[in-house]
Symmetry: C2
Subunit: 345 residues, 2 copies
């Protein structure tokens, strides 16, 4: 390329980039959220993105500060009848028992073996201390590399009982569109989940386009050591560093990101503090909550709005009222989402 | 712009971007590391970047995995005669004493007031428990927003005793060039420091172009709560979550990044495990250590290579020998750096 021609092309590129950055030349006006029905939720998103990315607007948010945080279970993918990571923990028990057969007769391992035989309804029998014991036994004690490989192998073969599909296909298409739409507009998208950070990081990049370093989750300590070959590795320890639920979400956001998000999305009372913290900043803000009110296409639970009660992803009426009061957008799966899954007809 | 003209410009932009990405059109062949003397360190960097970014090479590293981690004190900026954050802690004591005058007669506060009167030589009098007490008193107990504002105000007015310049100007120009060179080649640059994560995050973006979310450091817990106005905030607690030194560095990298770095740079024995962990991965790797051997332009300390011993940023002979054995590059400030500071003539 001739130097002059080169410079003129560079200038055109810069101009073009600037045009694209400010948005809205006619050729780019395809709907970025085709799986969303027109309504207040969709309009709220589009309005917020315009407000926060329009240079010169009083609501403009500099690119470096465009942080959007998403809860995962029940917000980005299905959490019923049971969190995917709990399924991983339960389905890892037979492997444990194979290595240590004496566990087969000891609770809670024996209870899990029963549950796995007789369907999943008996999960409710497990107490919180049971689950903690099982989590420690299946999620710690091995190297981080071994855990990654085991979780990856399980995700490849495990199937959700209702749809008979890999769990990683049970993500919500409207949320995938929202994540992409935000990234196209200069947002860094984060997962902020009560689930295990190491677990979610195994698939976040492939499933959501969110790299491991943008996953904040419940996290345990690791211990640095050396193998027989002298090679260093990290062992997952049964030591809780961050319980990334409730107040743990803003605390985790401060620890891992160090900036207040501009936008936050959740679906249960465990997301309340993350939304409050996000909303307490100045300028353009968007807080959203997914309401599971579609028993046909997904699940229906609350107990907000008279939906059935649940222990998994509870959305109380008090929390619903709080959302109304604070101006947080409640997304109705039934009304706001045209299509929930990619495999849906 | 006419549609055809637009499309042709887009095509040219794409072609241009592609050319720039593969690198080396003649007009771009300016030296990315002008403050480095030609020598094995500079050649090692350029060779590593080429090896890890040349598509199709067996040493190619996908863009998502290009993580480079840098220690801060003594690696990116001056750490002698004392770490900048320790200066912050000491110089914050008079403010504490003003609020609680009774502290003026209580050690270690009284010791600090003496030190501040009589120059800094008496810093050595402070024991580790003293420093821990002072750190808790000056770095915790306030909201994260208050801490940020206080640290920012101090950084604006504090001056290094030797150069009479803000500490934030005492960064090494060759390292600033290296950070930019890596980012231009698709690397995400991280600080992994024994210093306080919240402290370094106050200035990392302005000083190094490294955003807060890419700073891993010694970190304490925070506690979520509400002000009298009902607004939520986080209080810094005197509870250690991560001691980001020695084995804490790879542990912190796993916690906060979740990927093994491809490149790591440090300057003291506290960086050993980070370099080992980085080096244990497969494919292109680069591990580097800065040796402070230039008493005229900066400082000289080791005790490696017969340099004076020090408690601040110790680089032992055993560590030097280990570096040679492992093939880690030792950067001699004296020989490898043409110019150390931007203000240098």
């Amino acid at each position: 390329m001739q130097p002059n021609r080169f410079l003129s092309t560079v200038a055109q590129c810069l101009a073009l980039t600037a045009t694209l950055a400010v948005g809205a030349p006619s050729f780019a006006e395809t709907d970025p959220l085709p799986s969303w029905n027109d309504g207040p939720a969709k309009q709220g998103i589009v309005g917020f993105v315009k407000a926060s990315t329009t240079q010169g607007a009083p609501t403009f948010v500099p690119r470096a500060e465009r942080i959007a945080t998403f809860d995962q279970d029940g917000t980005l993918w299905v959490e019923h009848p049971m969190y995917t990571q709990v399924m991983y923990i339960l389905e890892s028990v037979p492997v444990l028992v194979k290595a240590k057969p004496e566990l087969a007769k000891v609770a809670p391992y024996s209870t899990v073996l029963e549950i796995l035989k007789g369907g999943h309804a008996a999960i409710a029998k497990l107490t919180m201390p049971d689950l903690e014991k099982l989590a420690a036994a299946t999620l710690t004690g091995m190297s981080t590399d071994t855990f990654q490989a085991e979780a990856k192998a399980w995700l490849a073969k495990a199937r959700d009982p209702r749809w008979k599909k890999p769990y990683t296909e049970l993500t919500y298409l409207p949320m995938q569109e929202l994540l992409r739409y935000l990234r196209t507009n200069g947002y860094k998208t984060y997962i902020v989940t009560g689930g295990g950070q190491d677990f979610v990081r195994v698939y976040s990049e492939a499933v959501y386009g969110i790299p491991p370093e943008q996953v904040v989750g419940t996290a345990g300590g690791t211990k640095y050591g050396y193998g027989k070959d002298g090679k260093p590795f990290l062992t997952k320890e049964p030591k809780l560093l961050l319980n990334d639920n409730d107040a743990g979400k803003p605390e985790g956001i401060h620890l891992m990101i160090g900036r207040r998000p501009v936008m936050a999305v959740g679906n249960s009372t465990g997301d309340r503090q993350m939304l409050e913290y996000t909303n307490a900043g100045s300028g353009a803000r968007l807080s959203m909550l997914v309401l599971h009110d579609d028993a046909d296409r997904e699940y229906a639970y609350g107990p907000a709005q008279g939906l059935p009660d649940t222990k998994v992803g509870t959305f109380t009426q008090a929390f619903y009222d709080e959302a109304q009061k604070q101006g947080w957008t409640v997304i109705s799966m039934k009304n706001d989402w045209k299509r929930i899954f990619t495999f849906e007809q």
